[in-house]
């Protein structure tokens, strides 16, 4: 059978499961007796095993199978997970990630078998082998229990007979009918699972009344089940009869029939009575049972939720977004052309406007992904770093639910990794140093995300040693980037900016983690490519904070259209602070830089006409009053001098195309209502 069509889904799902595994393993490391987490880890390993088996990735299947063995032993209390064991499990996770990445790249699982990891897993099992066997024997006599262990999914649900079912069963038994629980296992190679199941159901329905089916009959019909299903039937026929009848169907590998006895059902009630006896042990048992049940209920809910989602290729969303963009351009055009106050027209254009705005919002929302998808790999990373550097590091994350455009999410990971490593490696002091300055031995790194207007802010803060500004100053001179005189005039904040210059590294020694020459300049370039900015706030001895600000969306924004000479330019509204009219005589010269004073703030002037080389710009000397757009780049303000303002407009950002990509001062282009192109100014590179 051609499996290629499932490959993408497999990869996507496998990645999700691995991520889940990652989170759970970290939790397990903190609390190695947590049954819930163990069960979760087991469930994921089990699912991965099944998935890789189905897709024919046998090496991956072997590895997950071994993992499952160890995990099963763990959750059955045969031994307790120590940090060594968790390390091995992490290694498994890494190995599985390599498999999935290889599969994503080549559609093959590759030749690496990770024998060392498999060996370590086996060693764990052997070390505890003797004890395990004894335990195994102890649990052997209870056959029903054994079945449950093999089929954890069935186990929890078979117990879930509701009161109505129980009543039906009771009545049936009272009238001397037989009640059986029939577990049918299909051949693994079975191609038409639903068809086989259908035949089995026909037999059952002819000879009995099926009162319960797990999974549901509809799911079985739609082939939404593994290779087995369980039904509870009421019948006059015997156990033997069903065994023969069902076994006569092709491709059935096993049929197990267990009579349902009234006592079993009563026992649950008995337990509830015990509960009222105030026996403390019992309360705990019941409580944990209730918890477990809640869990399965939660999982059930989760499952249902995912059942209603659709996986969509991001490219299709891009197409949709492009179409919405076209619509908005046309809408703007209509708005401009309807100068007449024809009532009907104005009304319908307003209606169109409302619809396009909602459509835009809806499409945007579809593209939004919580930053959690990026953040969730960091705990593991920090754990590894803290071991490597032998520093205790606590990572505190907040605002994981903050959403960002999918394209941004894909790009933001690397810069964040870089900054986090930087904080862990350079920011945080060593154990001893921290104790010396009366700080807690463990260093803290805070990773926060939150929405701020039309921006999303991501902060990485550490409580380490802070940036040594003097050292940076020396370095600037030493590297010959600036003269000593000039450096001495720079403020601390300006000095820190130099950290983002290419080839600037203050690390005394090069570690594996950072200081490899690719420095913060890469981070800055990447963030700015996303239309964002990055800033640093640092206090010597207290710590540093990296602040990243990224626009919520990249495709459609509100902008101010301005005119310089005969050319039209768009300035993103998000980076505009205010508009001011300035008289030419108010312009002063400070340190060879033209500035204006605005409410006691000194704001540098950018003469856009000159910088952009507009041929027919109105010379500023001829103006009685100059219109200044005060733009902000992070905390800093600059005054952009323009000839006139056109107005605010919703614009669609388009790239300049391959040939002109990376042109200075220009962030992109947009198509105006009249069909002409206006360039979007890149405030970051224009600001002084």
């Amino acid at each position: 059978m051609d499996m290629n069509q499932y490959l993408d889904i497999f990869i996507e799902e496998a990645r999700e499961h691995l991520q889940q595994l990652n989170v759970s393993l970290l939790e397990l490391e903190k609390d190695n007796r947590n049954k819930e987490v163990l069960n979760e880890v087991f469930r994921v390993a089990h699912t991965l095993k099944g998935m890789s088996g189905t897709m024919g990735f046998s090496k991956m299947q072997t590895l997950t199978h071994r993992m499952e063995d160890v995990l099963d032993a763990l959750r059955n209390d045969r031994f307790i997970a120590d940090s060594n064991m968790v390390d091995v499990l992490f290694k498994c996770l890494d190995a599985l990630e390599i498999y999935v990445n290889t599969i994503a790249a080549t559609a093959q699982e590759g030749d690496e078998a990770f024998l060392d990891v498999v060996g370590e897993l086996q060693k764990i099992m052997q070390n505890t082998g003797s004890g395990e066997k004894a335990e195994n024997k102890a649990s052997m006599p209870d056959k029903a229990k054994d079945i449950k262990k093999e089929e954890p999914a069935v186990k929890s649900e078979i117990v879930e007979l509701n009161q109505y079912d129980i009543n039906v069963i009771k009545r049936a038994i009272e009238t001397d009918m037989n009640v059986f629980q029939i577990h049918v296992v299909l051949d693994k190679g079975c191609l038409l699972k639903a068809a086989r199941a259908f035949i089995v159901f026909q037999i059952l329905e002819k000879n009995s009344e099926v009162i319960k089916s797990i999974p549901k009959v509809e799911d079985i019909e739609d082939e939404r089940f593994g290779y087995d299903f369980t039904v509870v039937v009421i019948t006059e026929k015997t156990e033997e009869f069903f065994k023969q009848e069902i076994n006569s169907v092709a491709e059935i590998s096993a049929v197990e029939i267990v009579p349902v006895i009234l006592d079993d059902l009563d026992s649950t009630e008995a337990e509830e009575e015990d509960f009222s006896n105030n026996d403390i042990d019992k309360i705990e048992a019941v409580a944990s049972a209730a918890l477990a049940q809640n869990n399965t209920a939660d999982q059930h809910k989760k499952f249902q939720k995912t059942g209603k989602t659709v996986r969509v290729d991001i490219e299709r969303l891009d197409i949709l977004m492009n179409l919405v963009s076209e619509l908005i351009i046309i809408k703007t055009r209509l708005e401009e052309s309807s100068v007449s106050k024809d009532d009907a027209n104005v009304e319908s254009i307003e209606y169109l406007e409302r619809i396009t705005t909602s459509l835009h919002d809806a499409v945007m929302r579809v593209r939004m992904v919580p930053v959690e998808t990026v953040f969730n790999r960091f705990p593991r990373m920090i754990r590894d770093i803290s071991r490597e550097l032998k520093k205790d590091i606590e990572l505190h994350m907040s605002g994981e639910e903050t959403e960002l455009d999918r394209t941004v999410i894909d790009e933001i990971g690397d810069p964040l990794i870089h900054i986090l490593r930087n904080s862990a490696d350079h920011g945080l002091e060593t154990h001893e140093e921290r104790l010396k300055v009366n700080k807690s031995a463990a260093g803290n790194i805070y990773l926060r995300a939150f929405q701020d207007g039309n921006n999303v802010v991501i902060e990485v803060e550490d409580d380490g040693r802070g940036i040594d500004v003097e050292k940076v100053r020396k370095k600037i001179i030493q590297k010959g980037m600036e003269s000593q005189e000039f450096v001495s005039t720079l403020s601390d904040k300006e000095v820190i900016e130099y950290l983002f210059k290419p080839n600037f590294s203050t690390a005394d020694k090069v570690t594996d983690l950072s200081g490899r020459g690719v420095g913060l300049d890469v981070v800055k370039t990447k963030i700015e490519a996303l239309g964002g900015i990055v800033e640093v706030d640092s206090t010597r001895g207290k710590g540093s904070k990296f602040i990243i600000r990224i626009p919520l969306t990249l495709a459609i924004i509100q902008a101010l259209l301005v005119k310089i000479g005969s050319e039209k330019y768009a300035i993103p509204l998000g980076s505009i602070q205010e508009i001011e009219n300035v008289k030419p005589q108010d312009i002063r010269l400070v340190r060879n830089q033209e500035v204006i004073l605005l409410r006691d703030m000194v704001i540098p002037i950018v003469r856009l006409g000159n910088i952009l080389g507009v041929p027919d710009a109105v010379p500023d000397e001829e103006k009685k009053s100059i219109t200044c757009v005060i733009a902000k780049k992070g905390e800093k303000l600059s005054a952009f001098m323009v000839d006139s303002l056109i107005g605010q407009q919703e614009i669609v950002i388009k790239s300049l195309g391959k040939i002109l990509a990376g042109v200075k001062y220009i962030a992109g282009a947009t198509i105006l209502g009249d069909g002409n192109v206006a360039l979007i100014l890149d405030v970051n590179s224009l600001a002084i």
Binding site: E567, K568, L612, G657, V663, N676, V677
Partner: protein
């Protein structure tokens, strides 16, 4: 069979005029030919880059072949055309004085050039074809676009 062998030999070129020279470009690289479009100047680019235009919702870079080849700029008129080329997913519009026709050339009609001309366009020439007494310079559009992409 006959057709196939003909296809192999005969190549089609779009012939256009810049100054008093006639040029040809491989028809497979031509995406569309437009009358002049309103360009938006892009700052900090060389003068032969006229700017960008809106081609049915797509932003396309446009350059002047006159300026690129060191010829004086002229007023646009009714004959002026923008030939849009597509190569390596990059779109480039080239402003020419006029588009004449599509010509079919046999391999044997094309002569490679080494020292025939000495103007600035030499770098971008595939060869020269003689058709009915006219001399047509065949342009290497791939090279032109690749060079722009590398900048």
């Amino acid at each position: 069979m006959e057709n196939k062998s003909l296809d192999k030999e005969i190549k089609q070129f779009v012939a256009f005029k810049v100054g008093d020279q006639e040029y040809g470009a491989d028809i497979h690289k031509v995406s569309i030919i437009e009358k002049t479009l309103t360009t938006a100047r892009v700052p900090t680019t060389p003068d032969y880059i006229k700017g960008v235009v809106n081609l049915r919702g797509e932003i396309v870079t446009v350059m002047s072949l006159r300026l690129k080849f060191g010829l004086p700029e002229i007023e646009e008129d009714d004959d002026t055309r923008t030939v849009i080329f597509k190569f390596n997913e990059a779109l480039l519009g080239i402003i020419v004085d006029a588009v004449d026709e599509v010509i079919s050339l046999k391999e044997s009609d094309i002569e490679s050039v080494t020292q025939i001309t000495n103007d600035r366009s030499l770098d971008y020439i595939l060869g020269i074809a003689k058709v009915e007494g006219r001399l047509i310079t065949l342009l290497n559009i791939e090279k032109l676009i690749t060079e722009l992409l590398e900048k």
